[in-house]
């Protein structure tokens, strides 16, 4: 055992209050496992926003449709990385596919992930972009024409009949995609909610709370990206679109808030054996991250801002400012939610007699730096995706042969920060 680990555990031992089982001093699921459900939540939320356009025919949201899909893809590509880095033996991770244990919720990860990536997201994006890829392959120069040709899988047919097939395919995929997105994130909630040993996690509401908070965070992220993208490109924001999406965000936050409140009230009222230690967990260990960041800053204040923004007759600029503030606060709140579930669930002893401490590494593989890189990485991927794939549908054949390819028009996105 390394002396560093020894020193870290000795330090943590000093933070123990009450009695804990001796093996519990080490906190096993670190910040990386906080990042994982946060990132998958963003995927599910962004995809569900995209589905509004195709399944429920909500035309107002259409300007963000492609952005939502690309956001979902960028984050989905990063989602397995925190898990992989966290494993004691990352090189054995393929065993999850080769010899999955059918009773394990975690073993299903590979399959749910592969299904969602391959059968839903990539397919939908391909059908959505096929026509544009064909057009761009025709119009751009070497080597991009070959890139586009490859991406379109060498299809060339953009007749009306072929496009009709594309539209039909997208509709079918989206209809399959919504339950898949629910599955992806509900399943992440189930990983925690099904642990009967842990009273902080064990709750039948967990998958649903995860799902609702996923929708909240995904929608908020797409709003954020849309506003930033429009600002960077110096294009006007479609206020009808923004107002509509914020409307959905508002109701999603209310449902999410109600579910979490229900969970709290239920626990408090049932007042089971674990209630005392969970009470002191909240007051001693999670006061800042749960009461201040998650509930006050991440939920009540943005909800208040949205109520004001929707209730008053503000001008466009004021509304934009209010929306922008609230989506950032919501992101902080949802990240805190993930933190409180994952880390919070490991800060009390299963003997229900004591509390432990968690000290986050900064530079280590399971530290803050890795987490920040993993959170920034999807934005880098998204930047590349937006450079290659236009976020707005190309207009007919109007782009003349040999003209600068559309990727030249896409301006860089900030690659860091939320």
């Amino acid at each position: 055992m390394s002396t560093e680990q020894m020193a870290a555990l000795t330090e943590l031992m000093e933070q123990v209050t009450g009695f804990i089982y001796p093996n519990e001093i080490e906190i096993h699921w670190s910040i990386l496992i906080v990042v994982y459900p946060y990132v998958t939540g963003l995927v599910a939320g962004a995809f569900i926003l995209a589905s509004l356009v195709k399944v429920f025919n909500i035309k107002e949201v259409a300007p963000t449709y492609r952005l939502s899909l690309l956001t979902a893809l960028a984050f989905l590509l990063v989602a397995p990385l925190p898990l992989l880095l966290h494993l004691g033996h990352p090189l054995r991770s393929y065993e999850i596919f080769l010899t999955p244990n059918p009773t394990s919720a975690m073993a299903m990860f590979g399959f749910v992930y592969a299904w969602y990536l391959m059968a839903v997201l990539l397919l939908e994006i391909w059908f959505e972009y096929r026509r544009d890829l064909v057009l761009m392959a025709r119009e751009s120069r070497f080597p991009m024409n070959w890139v586009y040709r490859g991406l379109s899988l060498f299809s060339t047919d953009i007749s009306e009949a072929a496009l009709a097939v594309d539209r039909k395919a997208i509709r079918i995929i989206t209809i399959i995609g919504i339950p898949s997105a629910f599955l992806l994130h509900g399943y992440v909630g189930f990983i925690f909610g099904s642990v009967k040993a842990n009273p902080w996690w064990s709750s039948v509401l967990m998958p649903i709370v995860f799902l609702m908070s996923a929708i909240v965070s995904g929608i908020a992220l797409v709003i954020f990206l849309y506003m930033v993208l429009m600002a960077v490109r110096n294009q006007p924001i479609d206020m009808r679109c923004l107002d509509t999406i914020v409307g959905y965000l508002f109701y999603a936050v209310i449902v999410d808030f109600s579910l979490e409140a229900l969970d709290f009230i239920q626990r408090l009222y049932e007042s089971e054996e674990s209630i005392k230690i969970l009470g002191s967990l909240i007051t001693h260990k999670l006061f800042m991250s749960l009461l201040v960041l998650q509930i006050l800053l991440g939920m009540i204040i943005p909800l208040g801002i949205l109520v004001i923004a929707r209730g008053w007759k503000f001008n466009d600029d004021m509304r934009k400012l209010l929306y922008f503030t609230s989506v950032i606060l919501i992101q902080i709140g949802i990240f805190s939610t993930r933190w409180n579930v994952v880390v919070g669930g490991q800060l009390f002893s299963k003997s229900l007699r004591g509390l432990m401490g968690y000290k986050m590494e900064v530079m280590g593989i399971e530290g803050l730096a890795t987490a920040l890189v993993l959170l920034a990485l999807p934005f880098v991927i998204l930047y590349v995706l937006i450079r290659v794939l236009p976020t707005e549908r190309l207009e007919g054949e109007r782009v003349p042969r040999g003209a600068p390819s559309p990727e030249g028009e896409a301006l860089p996105l900030p690659t860091r920060g939320m």
Binding site: P22, E24, H28, G88, S93, E95, T99, S104, K350, G354
Partner: protein
């Protein structure tokens, strides 16, 4: 009783004893599916008695009994376990450990792990509260018949053996630590060298070779009783017959196979 009567009785006694013994063996064989003469043998001789030195896991179902009133908290079991199983000596990794409960007159229970001296434990130890009762509780993996750790392992690296022991295949474990989260008893840890989950094995390597687990072997007061629940002659079966027993966290339906006698309600 005169000499003649005594000899007559002896004549009767020996065949009767033999008959009863045969009956008992027959009953034992019926219960466990064992054959012939080995059925009545004590647990410790079982493995060898089965002939050819071959071990038959399907013929056993292991468990452990702990008699709390006999435990003096010497922690020799903890030391023996660490030595036998190469458990890291640092006080953060245990396959078995010792807890001390002190219940004061105001009803408050103070608990400490004798093998770890945290700041909280050091301070708690200095108090001079009036003691109502005090006792030691050795803890270890409960080798559950319905183990949540086995249920959640994504790759099947942790598994239940036919003879009722939960083991970890260190060559297969990917180190995801889901099993550690799922264990309600805190009986698992991540081995700092192998980076795989580790836990009590009932000293499986010893048990299949006709030896007792190290902790049972060294216990000076015989507070730990190891045995085969499939064998009627087992000490453990006798222990569960002679004591009112309880298991830890029964509400979680893990069906532990570590049985405690005289367990206090404060113990979780």
């Amino acid at each position: 009783m005169n000499k003649r009567q005594f000899l007559k009785s002896l004549l009767l006694l020996f065949p009767a004893g033999g008959f009863t013994g045969t009956l008992a063996r027959w009953a034992g064989a019926k219960e466990t599916g064992k054959t012939g003469a080995d059925a009545g043998a004590a647990d410790r001789r079982d493995a060898k008695a089965q002939g050819n030195g071959k071990y038959h896991p399907d013929r056993h179902w292991y468990g452990m009994g702990v008699e709390i009133d006999k435990c003096i908290g010497c922690s020799r079991c903890v030391d023996a376990c660490k030595t036998e199983n190469a458990v890291p000596q640092e006080p953060f990794f245990f396959r078995t450990w010792m807890e001390r409960y002190v219940i004061s007159k105001n009803g408050e229970a103070s608990v400490e792990s004798l093998n770890v001296k945290s700041k909280a434990a050091r301070e708690a130890g200095q108090e001079d509260a009036e003691v109502l009762r005090s006792f030691f509780v050795p803890k270890l993996c409960n080798q559950c018949a319905n183990p949540p750790c086995v249920q959640v392992c994504p790759v099947g690296a942790t598994f239940s053996t036919q003879d009722g022991v939960v083991l970890v295949d260190a060559n297969r474990c990917i180190g995801c630590r889901y099993c550690i989260q799922a264990c309600p008893y805190g009986a698992r840890y991540l081995h700092p060298q192998t980076k795989t989950a580790d836990k009590c094995t009932f000293c499986y390597h010893r048990v299949v070779n006709d030896l007792l687990p190290a902790c049972v072997e060294v216990c000076p007061t015989q507070a730990r009783i190891f045995g085969d629940l499939k064998s009627k002659a087992s000490r453990l079966v006798r222990f569960t017959r002679m004591n009112k027993i309880h298991v830890l966290k029964p509400s979680l339906n893990t069906e532990p196979k570590v049985y405690y006698a005289q367990l206090d309600g404060e113990v979780r």
